[in-house]
């Protein structure tokens, strides 16, 4: 396997829970991301999947250093960048960029899109104004936007076009890694296919490595070389796409895969679906023992006491479950 390009070790990120109207005090902490390890290899696509609120976006923002992490470390090309600041942090941010979950909210509505896409170049003072404009127009062409639309405003574009603007913005700095948070979930299938093809083309042509966060498990299957499944801030299973999809060992992964909608009404009605019992527990006070135990269909007595750790087999397939499913 190729060299690791981005690694995270024990990354933990929490939010304060505040109460009080005038004097806000911290009454608890939401541990949104709790000790996540991750390795992204050069030229590969790693997907992160899991229920809403399990901490995917928070982890992504931590990885690209858009927010600080409470514990753990992040290395990029073998160098620890966890505590970097100033110019060296900027260098890192040029090479590791992000496509945001909500393309509409991440564009300033009053800014012409050319300006928006150029912003990263301005921030990093790259090139002369003329060169910057040329770079933006090249990026627009690259992602299938008409460069003549440089002076238009975001509301004049469709959802798919806005997503392309977000991608153009992410590739303008010629990064090596792009973290894509739900790059296609707002798009209809035909545009989704265009963006998936575009991401694959860019990866091939520019040698990019991707971390992809997506709810659509068919898109993930298509894009990802490896998959990490998160539950309540932790990784519960990881492995190659084929391992996780065809031989899930963690009961949560299996439930997740069985819930995916199937575009075939007869099959959708006849297939066996594992319906998870109980509510998604609050990350404010996660269950003791295995965090999944209150909803686990194969729960055993010891699960409420013992917290299983992620154990990775020689073939790279790993799971955090004391009673894993048969392969």
């Amino acid at each position: 396997m190729s060299e690791p390009i981005l690694t995270a070790t024990g990354v933990t990120i929490g939010f304060p829970v505040k109460r009080g109207i005038i004097f806000q005090r911290e009454v608890a902490r939401v541990q949104a991301v709790d000790g996540v390890d991750l390795t992204l290899h050069q030229g590969e696509t790693l997907a992160i999947v899991g229920e809403s609120g399990c901490g995917k976006t928070t982890l992504a923002r931590g990885l690209v250093r858009l927010r600080d992490i409470d514990a753990g470390s992040i290395t990029y090309m073998g160098e620890d960048i966890t505590r970097r600041s100033g110019r060296t942090l900027n260098d890192f941010r040029r090479q590791v960029t992000m496509i945001f979950q909500d393309p509409i909210a991440s564009l300033d509505p009053r800014m012409r899109i050319g300006q928006s896409m150029q912003e990263p170049l301005d921030i990093h003072s790259i090139g002369t104004p003329a060169e910057r404009k040329r770079k933006v127009q090249e990026a627009m062409e690259r992602v299938g936007l008409n460069p003549e639309h440089y002076n238009r405003f975001p509301h004049e574009f469709s959802g798919g076009q806005r997503q392309r603007i977000g991608i153009a913005r992410a590739i303008i700095l010629e990064p090596r890694v792009i973290v894509c948070d739900e790059p296609v979930s707002a798009l209809d299938v035909s545009v989704q296919a265009q963006i998936v093809n575009l991401l694959e083309d860019l990866q091939r042509d520019l040698g990019l490595s991707y971390i992809v966060i997506a709810h659509d498990l068919d898109v993930v299957r298509r894009l990802a070389d490896r998959v990490q499944v998160m539950y309540l801030g932790r990784v519960v299973e990881q492995g190659e796409g084929e391992q996780v999809y065809n031989h899930p060992r963690h009961p949560y992964s299996k439930a997740l895969l069985s819930a995916r909608p199937i575009a075939d009404p007869k099959l959708a009605r006849s297939r066996e679906r594992i319906v998870l019992q109980g509510d998604v527990p609050s990350p404010i006070n996660p269950p003791a023992g295995c965090r999944f135990h209150p909803r686990c269909p194969v729960v055993q007595a010891s699960c409420s006491a013992q917290d299983p750790q992620l154990e990775i087999a020689a073939d790279g397939h790993g799971w955090a479950c004391a009673y894993p499913l048969a392969p």
């Binding site: 299938v189 989704q192 009404p265 099959l267």
Partner: protein
């Protein structure tokens, strides 16, 4: 009996560059206890259609045609009467939850207000309903969450709060615009189950707008495929997947990532949707259609016509035999095998 009957709906936006006809002669109906799915590309007029039904369009828009909801005719209904219907008899779940939640109010306050606007209940009862509503959409520790602000929730949780709000007053008609797009599959499965319950328990009619054909297959009874402001195919859900009739529907089915082999590029529908400012004459899909003939590029445009031996209607000039033969290539595997 249909609860909602839309006939020849035409919604036009006035813009600086001229009128944009976002919905161009759409007819459909939904009965109580039924789920109608609307699918179609971004910009084809799905939201404009639902906002027309809700009476929530900006003043730059005009609506023609007929929208009959039970005993009420909604086209031309005075604004204050429409407002009373909204939130009680008709509710809508919006595409963008942030746009319809107030960022400076707690979600508890917003839910309680929504109840008190339409039901004569005390603050305490409103609060109880709000907690039950949040619990019903699977929000953990609902009591605690009442005190949170929208920005403190994940994208998916915000969407669930929106759904809870729409369901608080047990509407007869629910219009859900991409309600599960931001959700993970397990939460999505819960929300879809919630919609199925709503349909059967309170006999609500549901219009579900989505671009996810998986969601359509899971919950819809009937499906309307929209293209550039018009319905091009309408069919019972099993029919649509077993015997898709319109070339645009074929394109949508072929783009599904699950239907494409690894290593091959995903199928894309060539070209892009037409401008609604001056749409092509004849069939609006013709510029992108691999099957287009001369007749397709000229007026009059094909109109919806019944497909023999089914409850499907399709607007396409291709003859029945060609549609059956070509369509079979895009049918669900089970059928084509």
């Amino acid at each position: 009996m249909a609860l909602l009957t839309v006939e020849n709906l035409r919604t036009t936006f006035r813009t600086d560059d001229g009128p944009v006809c976002a919905v161009d002669g759409v007819s459909l109906s939904v009965a109580a206890g039924q789920v109608l799915g609307i699918v179609g590309e971004s910009g084809c007029g799905k939201s404009a259609m639902s906002l027309s039904i809700m009476g929530l369009l900006p003043t730059s828009a005009t609506v023609e045609g007929s929208i009959q909801l039970g005993e009420h005719q909604l086209v031309g209904m005075p604004k204050n009467e429409l407002r009373t219907l909204r939130g009680s008899e008709v509710a809508m779940i919006f595409q963008d939850p942030m746009a319809s939640l107030n960022p400076v109010m707690t979600i508890g306050w917003q839910l309680e207000e929504a109840v008190r606007l339409h039901q004569k209940v005390s603050r305490r009862e409103a609060r109880t309903l709000a907690v039950a509503g949040l619990a019903a959409v699977g929000i953990p520790s609902p009591e605690d969450r009442l005190k949170t602000y929208p920005h403190e929730l994940s994208g998916g949780m915000r969407q669930r709060v929106m759904i809870a709000m729409a369901l608080l007053n047990r509407p007869r008609l629910l219009i859900a615009d991409e309600p599960t797009t931001a959700l993970d599959v397990t939460t999505q499965a819960q929300i879809l189950a919630l919609m199925r319950d709503l349909r059967s328990e309170v006999d609500a009619a549901i219009v579900l707008i989505t671009h996810d054909l998986g969601v359509v297959a899971e919950v819809c009874d009937e499906v309307a495929v929209m293209y550039a402001g018009r319905i091009v195919e309408r069919a019972p859900v099993d029919e649509l997947f077993a015997r898709p009739q319109h070339p645009y529907t074929w394109g949508l089915l072929a783009s599904l990532p699950g239907r494409n082999r690894a290593g091959e590029r995903l199928h894309q529908i060539a070209g892009s949707p037409p401008s609604l400012m001056n749409p092509p004459v004849g069939c609006r899909f013709a510029p992108r259609c691999a099957m287009a003939m001369d007749v397709c590029r000229a007026d009059p445009a094909p109109v919806l016509a019944a497909v023999a031996g089914s409850d499907t209607v399709v607007a396409c000039h291709l003859d029945a035999a060609t549609r059956a033969r070509e369509g079979a290539r895009f049918a669900s595997d089970e059928e084509s095998a």
